[in-house]
Amino acid sequence: MTGSVATAVRPHPPTLRIGGWLSLPLRARSLVVGGSLLVVILVVAVLTLTLGELGIALGNIVPTVQGAGTRRDEIVLLAFRGPRLVVGLAAGAALAVSGALFQTVTRNPLGSPDVIGITSGASAGAAAFGLLWPGILPLPAGALVGAFVAMALVFIGTGSGFSSPARMLLVGIGVSAMSLAFVQWVLVRAGREQATVLASYLNGSLAARDWDHATTIVTAVVVLVPCALLLSRRLQLIEMGDEQADALGARSATTRTLTILVAIGLATAAVSVAGPIAFIALVAPQIARRVTRSAGPNILASALMGAFLLGLADLVTQQLPIDVTLPVGVVTALLGGIYLGFLLIAQWNKGSL
């Protein structure tokens, strides 16, 4: 018999089946959104490589990537715009996934690594090991230490670990403020020249990135985003409350701890290569959720959205017709600030703030 067993059930949602071992539900809207994001990311990438004085002519991109381009194009691709583009896209994805994870475990759209103290903790770490005690640790490792110290302070400060989302946010805001005060103190103490170097890093910048930066952040994304995907089904249940998640067998406490570790890892990796770029982590998952119209952490859609937003912000930064070169963090902060205001007003009107 070749016919399959007839069932009266209309498959809902459409399901991807491979042999007997894989069956994943698919959402048409998420697929369309994901596909469209890939296309616009490609457009941003091509524009980043082609625009401006140094731009590689459109027709020369493919030969240059294959190693058959002119010497000039090769230098632009390999030394200037290539690593910067890769770092931007990967850092955007890492920040966005980190934000999606935090927003889910805190059940709050404001629960992002920016708000909760990770990025400012990383800045404080970078400031400490970059200026205060130079030579002990490289800057990225210093940022990692700072991020972990900040999270440890949040963990202790809540009095109940990471189990109460509201307390986590409140304590996180406090830790964040303290970290920034520490950064200011270090900057004031440091010499002017050193402070200038650090200041550009602290704004979040993609200028002068090299392939080492790219390797760091791409490795983090390749390792940690699949971890986030593995956790995302249990995170969907945590959205319904810890008790309901536990009742369904999702072990909320373990899931929450693992998730926070993955989110810290992603945010810190991004901050260590690109500085504390503001608002991508906050905004990207929220926009992803709205365009896919899907509950749950939306890991992949958030990652693509983050890559797109940071790629776009950096394109704007590079091509702005003004004399000064802004760090990309200033552009994201400007756009994100507007969005944050909108979000706060919306929550205020809903009475949930």
Binding site: V9, W21, S23, L24, R233, E243, D246, A247, L248, G249
Partner: protein
């Protein structure tokens, strides 16, 4: 001859010498209980008597300080968490509906304990969700957003979600709270039907008359202890209600069902 089950004769879900506490504040101490198989057990008692706490322990969402919850004669924490969730479903007092989720997607989350990493959607999942939606009268709502629904509809959707778990033990923590009286009875009738279909139900309720009407086994708690348990008609007396709730009352037969009905004499003033 020794029986091979450690608690032969005990019911499928039972507790032995439970001590339950929140941050060292002991709420329940040395409580043992058997929830009759195939029964509709309703737990009542004054506020803060530990009834919801007991339900949490029975569904292993709260870890006891000491004592054991037994599921099928085995300590409940000896099972893997998904294995427990395939036998026992629990609806907490206030589950949170995720933002922007359709009814069908929410109900589908009840299938989690039956799914694996690579097997996230099977025909059984499909059937279970469809069944759960139709048996709670939510089939027409399946494409709507949960946030657009009324309180009564939303509660039916939550019940559909735990039905999709396809367990024969179902625990409900105050399923009628926040509903108007018509929707309270709608939910209780639904529970009664689920019980009639063969499931074992355990619910915490506030309203004594509703409890007496629907329970096949009534458990009355006070200060973390079980004060009385049995058929509502056998145990629900005016003396019991006065000693447990401090409310002087008379008990008359419910004119519709004949079950005991509590009619307060006069509300005693505090102080």
């Amino acid at each position: 001859m020794a029986s091979d089950a450690p608690h032969a004769g005990a019911s499928r879900l039972a507790a032995r010498n439970l001590r339950l506490a929140y941050d060292k504040r002991v709420v329940v101490d040395d409580l043992s209980i058997d929830l009759p198989d195939g029964g509709f057990t309703i737990i009542v008692g004054p506020n803060a008597c530990g009834k919801s706490t007991l339900l949490k322990a029975l569904s292993r969402t709260l870890k006891p300080e000491s004592g054991t919850v037994l599921l099928g004669g085995q300590p409940i924490d000896s099972y893997r968490s998904k294995a427990v969730a395939r036998q026992l479903a629990m609806l907490p007092q206030s589950p949170i509906a995720p933002e922007a989720i359709a009814v069908r997607d929410l109900v589908a989350r009840g299938r989690y304990p039956h799914q694996g990493l690579f097997q996230q959607w099977s025909h059984e999942d499909e059937l279970a969700v469809t069944d759960a939606l139709s048996s709670t009268g939510c089939a027409d709502l399946s494409e709507r957003f949960v946030s657009e629904l009324s309180g009564g509809q939303r509660q039916r959707v939550w019940i559909a979600m735990i039905l999709a778990q396809q367990t024969d033990l179902v625990l409900l923590d105050e399923p009628t709270t926040f509903l108007d009286i018509a929707h309270q009875y709608e939910v209780l009738e639904l529970c009664a039907r689920l019980h009639a279909e063969g499931r074992t139900l355990v619910a915490v309720l506030h309203d004594l008359n509703q409890a007496a009407r629907y329970a096949t086994h009534l458990v009355v708690m006070k200060d973390g202890r079980v004060v009385a348990s049995g058929m509502p008609g056998d145990i629900l007396t005016a003396d019991l209600v006065e000693s447990v709730f401090g409310l002087p009352c008379v008990i008359i037969p419910d004119p519709v069902t004949g079950t005991p009905m509590v009619v307060p004499r006069a509300a005693p003033l505090a102080g």
